[in-house]
């Protein structure tokens, strides 16, 4: 029997609300199947299972908010016999802590630890605060009220979290009283999440920035020819080219593709390019295009369309949220020529793509009008240096000048 747990969908996520089951007990699921919808600060996310098997039972009621790592359901793996009448009772789902008696004579009961930091199945971003200092009273109150201590700001000596800090957090969490909001995007919450992630990035990651201008005239011509034969809904937009270019370059320069965790860089095996998607009303998210380096341009385009559509509708899959290995942000459509991104931790690089502008350009000793974009790289100096960054950017530029290789 395997627990299907509330996954962490990013460094900023501490808890999620289970809003919908897309399976029922008895259903067979395979790896990658979407089994539930969970609402987070980033909106409603479709959660996939990493464990094939048969859904045994649900452990958490709909619309309850539970910490990351909380078992949501049990999945019977293939080959596991159905148990006799009595199945081993699952651990009670937090945040409902067992009542503890008031201080009594020999209170030897071991503390019940809420599995707030329990490892969740997919490799995910580390918590923003590892092992916050908190008083016993604060911990007990947090446990009773289902508060994740990493969401609490400590006011005690050395930043320790005190009872009053948790009390304050409890009232803050309780403040928006159960407003019946349909599952979807909560822009306020998203803003909070962006604030946390970006502040952490600027606090922890020593960024360096490089800029590179690329003549993409050849790409434009190539794309126009290609699209001429395609129906409008399958045409490839220019924006897909740099994404593919970044994916291929990341494959060649693996130091830009992966995560910086626990003071060391872990290169990722696959290249999942996070695509920064602006959301009407002021949100931003960067879900992953999985294995972008392996996709044909047509596939990449259709995946991108699907991703953008679902993101704006507020339905992204858990794996898409949690595992981009590098991010691409394009503001070309907004008329911006260059953007210098902030790395989304624990990633180590973000590539910015500006709009295509027509500029006087020197080719073979003569000046002519050419389509040019400004690409930027924000790199994590803990992992790479400007030299490597320059090679990486140049590689993307080279690919954009030979679009048939994309």
């Amino acid at each position: 029997m395997v627990d299907f747990r509330m996954p962490s969908l990013g460094a900023d996520m501490d808890a999620g609300t289970l809003v919908e089951w897309l399976v029922k007990p008895g259903d067979w699921v395979k790896r990658g199947d979407v089994v539930a919808v969970v609402e987070t600060q980033k909106g409603a996310i479709e959660i996939e299972t990493y464990q094939p098997g048969q859904i045994e039972k649900f452990l958490v009621e709909l619309n309850s908010k539970v910490p990351v790592g909380t078992p949501l359901a049990q999945i019977r793996t293939e080959g596991e016999a159905k148990p006799a009448a009595v199945a081993p009772a699952p651990p009670p789902a937090p945040p409902v802590a067992p009542p503890r008696a008031a201080p009594a004579a020999p209170p030897i009961t071991p503390p019940v630890v809420t599995p707030v930091r329990a490892p969740s199945p997919p490799p995910v971003a580390p918590a923003a605060v590892a092992g916050a200092r908190a008083s016993p009273a604060a911990r007990k109150l947090a446990e009773e009220r289902g508060i994740d201590l990493s969401t609490v700001t400590g006011s005690g000596p050395g930043g320790a979290i005190t009872y009053a800090d948790v009390e304050q957090r409890v009232s803050a969490v309780a403040a928006p009283p159960e407003k019946k909001r349909p599952p979807g995007l909560d822009l306020d919450a998203m803003r909070t999440a962006i604030a946390a992630a970006m502040a952490r990035s600027k606090r922890e990651i020593p960024h360096y920035y490089l800029e590179h201008q690329v003549d993409v005239t050849a790409s434009e011509h190539w794309l126009a020819q290609k699209n001429a034969t395609l129906p409008p809904d399958t045409r490839v937009l220019f924006g897909a080219l740099p994404i593919k270019g970044v994916a291929l370059a990341a494959r060649r320069y693996p130091a830009f593709n992966g995560f910086y965790r626990d003071n060391k860089f872990e290169p990722a095996q696959a290249v999942h390019v996070g695509v920064a998607i602006a959301i009407r009303g002021g949100g931003l998210t960067a879900p992953a295009l999985h294995d972008a380096d392996q996709l044909s341009l047509d596939d990449l385009m259709s995946r991108m369309r699907d991703l953008i559509q679902r993101t704006r509708a507020g339905r992204i899959r858990s794996s898409e949220m949690s595992d981009p290995t590098i991010t691409v942000s394009s503001l070309g459509e907004r008329g911006v020529e260059a953007l210098y991104g902030i790395i989304y931790p624990p990633q180590v690089a973000i590539v910015g793509i500006g709009k295509v502008v027509t500029r006087p350009w020197v080719i073979d000793g003569a000046i002519g009008p050419r389509s040019v974009i400004t690409m930027t790289l924000s790199g994590d100096h803990r992992v790479t240096d400007g030299h490597a960054g320059a090679l990486f950017l140049a590689e993307i530029g080279k690919l954009l000048q030979e679009p048939e290789k994309l």
């Binding site: 503890r100 201080p103 008083s135 005190t162 009872y163």
Partner: protein, 335 residues
């Protein structure tokens, strides 16, 4: 508590006088009771507690002894085993070490060693604490050591009511009871009910209720702690002051109820810090009220030096209100 009972008639007296009244009362009420110790008769006691009692009750009941703590404490133990109710006075806790063998190996152990055939219903009073410039052989606070010993009870009367009322209750106990009178309390004057009488000897008392921090203390430090609590109140910190009263057994229930409420604790103990009674109280809080704590437990104890003679150094060596205030603020993160 006694002090809460509203009595129409109160009288003013010193702590010394309250203890003397307790002695007089016990000697009058029970013919088995007698007082024995160095200079308790003709000299009237080294702190004048028994002044006048020899004239009042005669040498049978008020007995001067040679300078031999082990000898007369042993005599008191024998008398108690034989049916008397002796009160042995030791001049200071420092001198009591000469009688430690009698207290630990005999008085505390006889009930166990005799298979419950004998008990030692003995009361031993002694002076403890610093502040009178009596230097390093007369000024220590070793009651915490005695509180380590199973088989005896250890009391620390800090108020007029307890000075007046603990002795009689202690005399009713079938086992040895040690009463520690802090030397700085003898001259303390206050109002007490004219008919004040026996009090319980197994409960701690909340001397000042408060919501923010528990200041746990006993004996001479109680008044410094109350002074500190008053000063803290001016800064909007409401300290609860617990007077332990009995150091063995400790009244865990009162301590834990207070800490559960305030979630902060500082223990004030005139003993040296290492291995102190404060350490025992702190550990019990960790054992029994860990999940109520909102900050590390603080301690204000004596500096780990022989108590110095010069007044400024003596004052610097022992707990003072200023140190208690600082420790309370530190525990509350307001330092």
């Amino acid at each position: 508590m006694k002090q809460e009972t509203i009595k129409a008639e109160t009288i003013e007296m010193t702590y010394r006088e309250a203890v003397r009244q307790a002695l007089r009362d016990a000697i009058k009420r029970d013919e088995r009771v007698f007082l024995m110790g160095e200079d308790v008769g003709r000299y009237g006691g080294c702190y004048a507690v028994s002044h006048g009692l020899l004239a009042e009750f005669g040498p049978e009941r008020i007995r001067d002894t040679p300078l031999s703590e082990s000898g007369f404490t042993g005599a008191g133990i024998g008398a108690a085993m034989a049916g008397m109710r002796p009160i042995v006075e030791l001049m200071t806790v420092n001198f009591s070490l000469l009688a430690l063998d009698q207290i630990l190996n005999t008085a505390a152990a006889v009930r166990h060693m005799s298979g419950n055939q004998f008990g030692v219903p003995l009361v031993i009073r002694m002076a403890t604490g610093a502040g009178r410039q009596l230097a390093a052989q007369h000024s220590h606070s070793l009651e915490g050591w005695y509180a380590h010993i199973p088989g005896i009870k250890v009391l620390a009367p800090a108020t007029l009511e307890d000075g007046r009322g603990m002795l009689w209750t202690a005399l009713q106990d079938p086992d040895p009871v040690l009463i520690f009178e802090n030397v700085m309390l003898y001259n303390m004057t206050g109002k007490i009910a004219a008919d004040a009488g026996p009090v319980d000897i197994d409960k701690a008392a909340v001397r000042r209720p408060g919501r923010d921090i528990s200041l746990i203390t006993y004996g001479g430090s109680l008044w410094k702690t109350l002074e500190a609590a008053t000063a803290l109140a001016a800064e909007n910190i409401e300290a609860e002051v617990i007077d332990l009263r009995s150091l063995r057994p400790l009244d865990d229930a009162t301590i834990m109820a207070s800490v559960a409420k305030t979630r902060h604790a500082v223990i004030i103990d005139e003993g040296w810090r290492s291995g102190s009674l404060a350490a025992e109280v702190g550990m019990r809080i960790v054992e029994e009220a860990f999940w109520a704590l909102d900050a590390p437990i603080g301690r204000v104890c004596s500096e780990e030096v022989p108590i110095p003679y010069p007044r400024h150094l003596e004052n610097a060596a022992i707990p003072q209100a200023s140190k208690i205030i600082a420790a309370a603020k530190s525990a509350l993160g307001r330092a």
